[in-house]
Symmetry: C2
Subunit: 190 residues, 2 copies
Amino acid sequence: MDIEKPWGEGDVGKYIGINLRQFRVNKGISIDVLAKQIGVSKLTVLNIERGEANPTLSVIWKIANGLKIPITALLSIESDVSISRKKDGMKLISSNDVFVAEPLFRSHGLIELYRGYLQPRGEYLSEAHQLGVMEFVTVMSGQLTVEVDGEAHHLDDYDSIRFKGDRPHKYANPSSSLTMLHFVISYNNL
Amino acid sequence: MDIEKPWGEGDVGKYIGINLRQFRVNKGISIDVLAKQIGVSKLTVLNIERGEANPTLSVIWKIANGLKIPITALLSIESDVSISRKKDGMKLISSNDVFVAEPLFRSHGLIELYRGYLQPRGEYLSEAHQLGVMEFVTVMSGQLTVEVDGEAHHLDDYDSIRFKGDRPHKYANPSSSLTMLHFVISYNNL
DNA sequence: TGAATTGGTATATTAAATTTTACTTTTTTC
DNA sequence: GAAAAAAGTAAAATTTAATATACCAATTCA
């Protein structure tokens, strides 16, 4: 009795299954126990774990809630270890771009990391990002002024700021030396 | 004709509704158009937006897919702007802890940011975190050696590393000066 | 003002998720 | 190797998500 999979390549159903099983086995409890614990039928859990199901939001919530994990933790995939090194002797000094951001990691479209360089006295205006984006900026060295919602915030080295990225915001380097930044863009937030 | 809400306080259904409407209105398209575009009935979209629905995973996927947003972006909430400053003249030097991590931001349990200090010649062994955790470490200043899965990786300043946090890993500062680190812990990944 | 669009309501129908029960097979454990 | 627990199968019953259609009120717009 094959089941129609309404979704395309992504196969969310398959992943939620893999993830759920991983979490459950990790906790060392059986399907039956989990099912009773969270108040759904054993068969439902079984089918979900096998990727042969199309669970309702309420069921998904019950599972996430019962396992005490964020609901979103059931819906993704990811890989292993990777390193991103600062390209030594980069075109930093050569570049006449005021602002440069080089991508470090991209994690399944949910989170992105960048390394940023802002020239002395440089300014950069960022358009509003997609709705639901949260931005985390950390000053690795130098100084930074962030202007968002009409307010300016000054940061020294090792300071961090967080703000909703779905509005225009401006970065400025008020100092006379290069500012090195660290960006985290998170797409999960609303 | 009131509808039973199977979930508790969390009210995921309400949030997915708010979020969906936000995305849709933001795109400037009507319910009917969206519905046809993604291949679900108008009434379904309407009910979801009003929080009076219990959509199936396939429908949730269709919506996220149709709007070209990560499926998880439909299921959360978040707030505004906040800054975390390095406490000047901290107990860094005074502290005889080899490793100190101070929390910067916590974003709805999905992502956490830390600032870390690792003393010269210091070593710190981190237990395996919860399953599905991805860790991003950036060297803001100094040097760092990360050992994960039996392999050691050496990082200089401004280098970054990413690895699955669900296994034990060791941080070491091979240099004779303080190492300043930046941690991102992401819980969405698997 | 009048037509068209949009959000929302009402109802009946269809498709399918979830439950229940019982039974089989595999794996674990003593 | 027998007992017990866990995973998986089968089928029928129940519940409910999703669709389809028509209709209403408010808003937009030409």
